[in-house]
């Protein structure tokens, strides 16, 4: 590992690991929060260097067009979330929902989670990626249960069981992939390396690949939160600390979906294997429809946005299932924008819940009057996530619907209508939350709003103008995904 790029790759992994170890022993919570943010920032810097300095793929690690964007994205959101969590956690300490002991645990876990996700993104090895994702899952499980309220424990337990089953299925799929590969590539690490797999995939046994993909889709799909494997997701979002909800929606779901994408590229490189498209389309569509209707009866604000995450994961899966350069591009862009928007929404929601002292939506009203910044922030977020212009998500949904309608009109109509249904639900809630007579505490909010606005600015800009480099990467990947 002599070239500079690989040094930074190492940095992206080592910084979180080391800081996690440090945070375990660091007693002072203030300092811990700062160190947490600092580490996240350094990781982000190191990651963003990868844009320019890209090392040649190693046996275990790889940086290519697909993951470089997501690494930078996840480290960035990791950083902003750590900033947000600093102010959030401080409030939690005041209200005594968390004790310093748990807090130390929390910060350590946070960095471990970062480590796990970066590893999963960077790994050039199906097995390594599996281990990394499992690590990330475990840490989030522990953090979801951190409040130790019955509801939190229940959510954690549910997440844990379903997640483990998913992990098991994914592992089986991974083994199958190896089996498909090792007879061609030969035994050993190469048979699990991405770049090799994609190259040699045409020679693999299609039947084995089909079976493998089925297990992988279900396994990682559980993490993605596709219906009917979604059950853990809303409660996990609702009961955990808000920074974790943000990271879950913003990053972990993406990482799982990223894994699915990797395998899809392997699949689609093999002519004999069945096209993964229809499967993904149907799963995505079911998720979208289901989540859209589930939005209507929600009382808990965080759970509602959890369901909205399910919806958007469905949208992305749908897009990749439809395939074609435009739809794939839209899917990738949607992954990026959704994680930015949704995490920003969770920042906002976290502060709202803290100010109002409740997550129960009927008790929150008139935010634009009582807390203009939060209220309008929420309004902006909802408008953005609902895919209204000029925010970026409008662009992706535009592409998805138009390209789909040209090919499968019925699908597009159903898809579009369910988007409309979801929009109706979100807007209904927004009306109640942001407008009308204010209700509940009017205490001014002390919050770090910078992360939220940073995300919103990015989302807004993406709707107007996309940097050509990003477009080039995405188009390259889109063509790779077929």
């Amino acid at each position: 590992m002599t070239e500079p790029g690989s040094f930074f790759v190492g940095a992206v992994l080592i910084i979180p690991a080391v800081s996690a170890a440090l945070l375990v022993v660091l007693p002072d919570d203030r300092a811990a929060a700062r160190l947490n943010a600092l580490a996240a920032f350094l990781t982000f810097v190191a990651a963003s260097v990868l844009f320019v300095e890209r090392p040649s793929p190693g046996r275990y690690l790889i940086v290519d067009d697909l993951n470089v964007v997501f690494i930078v994205l996840s480290t960035f959101i990791g950083f902003t979330t750590s900033v947000f969590s600093a102010s959030y956690i401080a409030h939690e300490l005041e209200t005594g929902r968390l004790t310093p002991r748990y807090l130390r645990f929390y910060h350590a876990m946070y960095q471990t989670l970062m480590f796990g996700m970066n590893l999963a993104l960077l790994s050039n090895n199906v097995g390594l990626m599996w281990v990394a994702i499992e690590l990330a899952t475990l840490t989030t499980v522990l953090m979801v249960g951190i409040y130790r309220t019955p509801a939190a424990l229940e959510a954690a337990w549910k997440y844990f069981l379903l997640g483990s089953v998913g992990i098991a299925l994914a592992l089986f799929g991974t083994i199958l992939v190896y089996l498909a590969a090792h007879s061609i590539v030969g035994e050993g690490l190469d048979a699990m390396a991405w770049n090799v797999l994609v190259q040699r995939s045409p020679e693999f046994d299609p039947a084995l690949l089909n079976l493998a993909f089925l297990f992988l889709l279900l396994g990682y799909g559980t993490k993605v939160g596709l219906v009917p494997l979604h059950a853990w997701l809303p409660d996990a979002h609702a009961e955990g600390p808000t920074p974790i909800s943000a990271v879950l929606s913003g990053l972990l779901l993406n990482v799982a979906l990223f894994a699915v994408l990797r395998f899809k590229s392997v699949m689609s490189a093999n002519p004999g294997a069945f096209a993964p498209g229809p499967l993904m389309v149907s799963l995505g569509l079911i998720s979208v429809i289901f989540a859209s209707f589930m939005l209507y009866r929600r009382q808990d604000i965080k759970r509602m946005f959890g369901y909205s995450s399910i919806e958007h994961m469905g949208i992305i899966t749908f897009a990749f299932g439809v395939g074609g350069p435009l739809a794939n591009f839209a899917g990738l862009l949607h992954m990026t924008l959704h994680s930015l928007t949704k995490s920003a929404i969770f920042f906002c929601v976290g502060h709202i819940a803290q100010v109002k002292g409740t997550q129960h939506m009927p008790d929150i009203r008139g935010l634009t009057v009582s807390h203009p910044v939060l209220g309008w922030g929420l309004a902006f977020g909802v408008v953005a996530i609902a895919g209204l212009p000029p925010m970026g998500i409008f662009m992706t949904e535009f592409l998805i619907v138009t390209t789909t309608f040209a090919r499968h009109p019925v699908l597009a109509v159903v898809f579009g209508l369910s988007l409309l249904v979801a929009f109706g639900a979100l807007l209904l809630r927004l009306n109640g939350l942001a407008f009308g007579e204010p209700h509940g505490s009017l205490a001014p909010v002390k919050a770090s709003l910078v992360p939220m606005f940073a995300h919103f600015a990015l989302v807004f800009a993406a709707g107007i103008w996309l940097p050509p480099a990003l477009v080039a990467w995405f188009q390259n990947v889109a063509s790779l995904l077929k």
């Binding site: 409008f394 138009t402 109509v413």
Partner: protein, 670 residues
């Protein structure tokens, strides 16, 4: 270069809206923001008008490196765009001018000022957009900013619901347009209008696109049965915004329809014309009937917007039918009628909404039953409103009559159509049009009579005061426009020539040079109308009559109490109210259209309580279309909601089931 200038104006508008966020906190912010908007709109108006009058010469297209990366944002200025830009910016300018005065009464300027210029910019951009993505982006941006303005007074009951319905319907329309463009662009994604024009779709596809465009643009323009949001949302906004939404935004929707159907879709089919015209006529009648039943002044105006949109769509439909049969001149006539009505309606509807706004600020009342006698307190407003009412009731010599007259001329050209359905349909449409015109007159007799005439019905109306100078200036400018466009229609029709030339391949003979400024759409022997002459003769006759009478007959005048049938000093409550005025028409049409129920509750003999009359109206369309949809959604939501409350084991079962099912599929598949 005209286009560059326009885009700079729009950019400046957007900048204004950003700057308005901090400016809204200061007292001086209001006039500054509106002033800036006014100047920019006037500038844009100037550019648009010059490029329209210059015909083809001042056109242009350019592409900005924003929006879809590989596509960029295409903008283009052609005759059609120029005309609608003129309409938009005229409305924008007057609304800003009105806002200078009206805005001072705004209690939460922070919720209005930032969105107002953004709304204007959005409407301008829609008209300029030249690719599907930019078009839809700006279209939805327009909806969004106007939604924010509707929500400005979110505390008043019903406004939040109105905003909700509005935005959902708007998104529904956008979805329809999205699908339409998806069809037009094809899977390859040729979103630029140029590409679409170069490859006109097949007949079947074209039919679907037309239907989708009708839904998409119609839901924004307020075409029955997609109009339900309009009478709720338009009045909810501040009055000058209501004027913009009713007078201008609906026109932008019409623009969208014209752009797609006339420009992008290639040659139309005759049944498309029949469909559009029929929808238009139904819309017109439904709109005016609803308006007659309405006692809320602003909502009444909003319903009249629905009616006028119907009239416009009648014109468009006829144009389509003629064009399908290669009758270019007739198509040009119909199109001219429609577009001219677009302009006229934007003028007098803005005027009327400003009047309503003035009344609102003076009395704080929108309910006509609480008003009355305002003509004594606010004579100037009353005068302007009267002009507007005459214009919208299509009475000569005002502009509303001219465009309806042209529409009738177009209808009279219908027997030349080969299709029998059209032969029979078009006269029926004509009858409906005449009916709606007559009803509109009745409705505005009610609106003006009950609001401004008679005796005040409430304390607020009794102590009303004339509104501020800005508002009055705005209203009189518009009133003057109503008259000018009414007596000198020739020039306006000539200005429309390039548009119809571009869309229908023909234009009306030049009217400007004809003696006495008569307008002769087809031929002198066939039909002609001379607003100027008519106006002069009437003025002359009235003047002579007055002169003669005051010269030779008695000019004496005595004031006394009105004839009271021997019941002295009757209270204002004994006047005819809006409800009682529309009662005969309710009796005639209500039973069918509204399922109207009237019941009179008589107290038992000896009981001194007053008898009460209860009128119950139902919107049949609402009951048939919207209630079921809402019901279905909530039903499904309830059903699915149970899934939230299962035990972990059941969730595991779901996973297991999915796995087994997929394995089986695989086993079978192999």
């Amino acid at each position: 270069m005209a286009l560059d200038a326009l885009l700079w104006c729009i950019g400046a508008l957007l900048a204004t809206s950003v700057a308005a966020i901090p400016a809204a906190r200061h007292r001086a912010g209001t006039p500054v923001v509106y002033g800036a908007a006014l100047c920019l709109c006037v500038a844009a108006l100037g550019i648009a008008v010059t490029s329209l009058l210059a015909g083809g010469s001042l056109q242009g297209a350019l592409t900005l490196p924003i929006g879809l990366p590989w596509l960029g944002a295409h903008f283009r200025l052609d005759a059609l765009a120029a005309f609608f830009l003129a309409v938009v910016n005229l409305g924008g300018a007057t609304a800003s001018l009105f806002g200078m005065g009206y805005g001072r009464h705004e209690e939460t300027p922070g919720r209005v000022l930032p969105f107002f210029p953004a709304f204007l910019a959005g409407m301008n951009l829609v008209v300029l957009a030249d690719d599907a993505f930019t078009f839809l982006l700006t279209w939805e941006f327009m909806s969004l900013s106007s939604w924010a303005l509707v929500m400005a007074h979110h505390r008043r009951t019903g406004n939040a619901a109105a905003g909700y319905l509005y935005l959902v319907m708007a998104s529904f329309g956008t979805l329809a347009l999205l699908l339409a463009f998806g069809l037009l662009a094809g899977p390859a994604g040729g979103y630029a209008f140029e590409a679409i024009r170069s490859a006109p779709p097949a007949a079947g596809v074209a039919a679907v696109v037309l239907a989708l465009a009708l839904i998409g643009a119609g839901s924004k323009a307020g075409l029955v049965p997609l109009h339900v949001w309009l009478p709720l949302a338009h009045p909810a906004a501040p009055s000058h915004v209501s004027a913009l939404m009713s007078g201008v935004m609906t026109k932008v929707a019409v623009y969208g329809f014209v752009r797609i159907v006339f420009d992008l879709l290639g040659a139309p089919t005759w049944w498309a014309g029949a469909l559009v015209a029929l929808l238009g006529s139904v819309t017109a009648v439904m709109g005016v009937l609803h308006a007659l039943m309405e006692h809320d002044l602003k909502r009444l105006l909003a319903y009249h917007t629905v009616e006028n949109i119907g009239i416009i769509f009648i014109g468009l439909g006829l144009a389509l039918a003629f064009e399908a049969n290669e009758m270019r001149a007739a198509a040009a006539l119909a199109l001219t009628a429609a577009l001219f009505h677009v302009f006229n309606h934007s003028v007098f509807k803005s005027l009327l909404f400003f009047g309503a706004g003035a009344v609102l600020t003076a009395t704080g009342e929108r309910d006509m039953e609480q008003l009355g006698g305002l003509i004594h307190r606010m004579p100037l407003t009353a005068f302007a409103f009267l002009v507007g009412s005459a214009a919208i009731s299509a009475l000569p010599p005002f502009n509303g009559f001219v465009s309806e007259w042209l529409t009738f001329q177009a209808i009279l050209a219908s027997p030349a159509l080969p299709q029998w359905l059209l032969k029979f349909l078009v006269p029926a449409i004509g009858a409906l049009l005449a009916l709606s015109a007559a009803l509109a007159a009745a409705c505005f007799v009610k609106a003006f009579g009950v609001t401004f005439l008679g005796r005040p019905r409430s304390e607020a109306a009794r102590n009303a005061a004339e509104t501020d100078r800005w508002s009055l200036a705005t209203m009189f400018v518009l009133a003057a426009l109503c008259l000018i466009a009414g007596i000198l229609p020739g020039y306006f029709i000539d200005a429309l020539a390039p548009v119809t030339q571009a869309l229908a391949g023909a234009h009306l003979p030049r009217q400007g040079e004809l003696d006495w400024l008569t307008i002769v759409p087809v031929a002198q022997s066939r039909s002609s109308y001379n607003g100027l002459l008519l106006f002069l003769i009437i003025a002359l006759a009235a003047g002579l009559g007055a002169e003669a009478i005051h010269r030779w007959a008695s000019g004496a005048l005595r004031r006394s109490a009105p004839w009271d049938c021997g019941f002295p000093d009757s209270s204002p409550a004994t006047q005819y109210t809006a409800g009682s005025f529309s009662q005969p028409i309710r009796r005639v049409f209500g039973a069918v259209v509204f399922r109207a129920r009237e019941e009179v509750r008589m107290p038992p003999p000896g009981d001194l309580r007053a008898a009460q009359m209860h009128v119950q109206l139902r919107d049949v369309l609402w009951d048939t279309f919207y209630v079921p949809i809402a019901g279905i959604v909530s039903y499904v939501a309830d059903r699915l909601n149970k899934v939230q409350f299962l035990s972990i084991r059941v969730y595991l079962t779901l996973v297991f089931g999915a796995l087994v099912a997929l394995l089986m599929v695989l086993a079978v598949w192999q």
